[in-house]
Symmetry: C2
Subunit: 399 residues, 2 copies
Amino acid sequence: MKVERVARIVPGFRAAGIHAGIKAQAKDLALIVSDERASAAGVFTRSTVVGAPVEVSRARVKRGIARAVVVNSGCSNVAMGARGIRDAHSMARIAAKAIGCEESEVLIASTGVIGQPLPLDVLARGIPQAVTALSEDGMREAAEAIRTTDTFAKLASTSLVLGGEKITLQGIAKGAGMIEPNMATMLSFLTTDAKIAPALLRAILRRVSDATFNRLSVDGETSTSDSVMLLASGRSMRTGLRAGSRDAARFEAALQAVCEDLVRQLARDGEGATKLVLVDVRGARSARDADRAARRIGNSMLVKTAIFGGDPNWGRILQTIGAARIAWHPERTKILLGGVPVFTRGRSAGPAARQRAEIALKAEEIEIRVDLGRGPGQARLFTCDLTYEYIRVNADYTT
Amino acid sequence: MKVERVARIVPGFRAAGIHAGIKAQAKDLALIVSDERASAAGVFTRSTVVGAPVEVSRARVKRGIARAVVVNSGCSNVAMGARGIRDAHSMARIAAKAIGCEESEVLIASTGVIGQPLPLDVLARGIPQAVTALSEDGMREAAEAIRTTDTFAKLASTSLVLGGEKITLQGIAKGAGMIEPNMATMLSFLTTDAKIAPALLRAILRRVSDATFNRLSVDGETSTSDSVMLLASGRSMRTGLRAGSRDAARFEAALQAVCEDLVRQLARDGEGATKLVLVDVRGARSARDADRAARRIGNSMLVKTAIFGGDPNWGRILQTIGAARIAWHPERTKILLGGVPVFTRGRSAGPAARQRAEIALKAEEIEIRVDLGRGPGQARLFTCDLTYEYIRVNADYTT
């Protein structure tokens, strides 16, 4: 599946990203509009404390229909009590009026500083401007506008042929990890012109999110605002995709490829990151055990600093698997760093392997592969290294 | 309970700390000897991969009797397979011969680089030297000799009167956190002249460890070698402490005070730490929920960098509790930083409180207190801030 990091036209959709004035200078307002009612699905943070926009969008997306997504950066509308919910509704109402649709058909998301009220006056001026700026190839600007401290805008797209029709899939995302120093937030918005009923769209998005966005961890934190939304216009297909069909599977594979590419961009741009790290655990007793080990390894401050330092330190990986308290055979365990076996059959693979691993660790993408020698369980996790810059971004910031 | 950081004489015990030659220069061999057979108890790492010394000592301490503890720093004897076990036994045998006791009465511990063989020739020369150096007030030297990259030696002692007799309690410890760049290890060795049967000693040490050493986290990691051992000579009491008695409770309180003082020293000296942080969670539905929230907060890279930066960032604390997925009432939750309420009734306590909190965060000991407003559950965790120095120590090191 060829995924490109370029903006494409997805028939049925227009988008825009503008500077409304929530931030001092940068773009801070994104709008994605479907010409007609689109099938819609969403997945949201599993945190027990969520922002007002998540509460509102989570309820609305259950209907499975949407016309637009409006997103602001610079203010997260989190921890604002009843006022937060009122303001979130107002934001959607302003957008609905400017677009000419039902308020309930507008999904919303916000990211940025918490504990501060949403500047409704700025949105009241900005949203109509964004509607004026809408264009078929506006997703690049939308990707810019949802950034907080991301160092680059994240966009991925692909196309495939389903039922004889060319279908396009496109997504944008903003930073996982402690991008906004006040609050981690991962946002992604996806569009397609495939024709899919809401229930199937929801099932596919749930599975794909579990396999991609939920396999990403910059620092083990979960934001109050994490949101992924997918809109399908149906514009390019006469008959809808059927659950269980070969075409539905191909669509799901394409969506997964787009989302995985966004996840790679997010991990690579984790706060202070210099390297993308893929943790690949195999041979666990179960998928659950593999997941546990992968998350322990990927969130270990020790392992992450070792990768930053280019140190093929298998001892830290061994120690953190031990702490995960899963069933395994240390004496059968194999650890590969950047493809080089550094630990095999319960002991060091020796100084020559270490030297080769040191060279492999100079790459920008590092794979940590662990085989626990115990069973068929597998799991992956995308993460990044832990650097001085992470400390600088998160310690020197004063709210 | 007055705990002092000075070495005392504990009747029945002698100790020594010498430079044997495992490390280039610093002291690297500690020995604690009981004149007669002492009651002994130990608690060990919960990791599923443990060092050879832990395997050996964990089995021996079950008998409840010991004459000596011999500890080396500079080499952990971890991940050495069958050879590691043989070497651990040899280390104990050398000590037993030099002291003149049964090999099974010698407990051992090792900390330092992993994947390298224990230098038995160095120990064969060093252990008899350590026996020669034994003295009644040698615990300060023993505390020096178990250090790896701890910036200071850790020692705490107290005394109390039990059954008309003055009883002394003394402990030493070495660094929790990623002290040895290859492997985190927390070690502590305690002595007392109280008379306590092994079963009671074990029960008391287990409870006290759960309340102190197991409430410490520098970076959420668990070592393969963590060990706490307590020897009671009985020298100063005619009749033993009885389980359930008032004196047993007073002894336990004294032991807890000594261990908590050691834990404070360990947290303060966590790698790169500039501040000791006490996380105190109350009002949780259960103690288990409180523990979960306290560990999430205390291990959050975001919270720890905020403390380093002196930023009263309640948003990060709120977000990390949300991620702990416990039952709580965000709108009833209260957060105090250094005694200053910064978040009350679901919202910011305002800019004046923030200013006061900024001043409070300049202290060297910081309390993060959270009241979840939900029930009677409480838990504490001792930790430290996350700094540039942590990254330096763990990234720039090359094995």
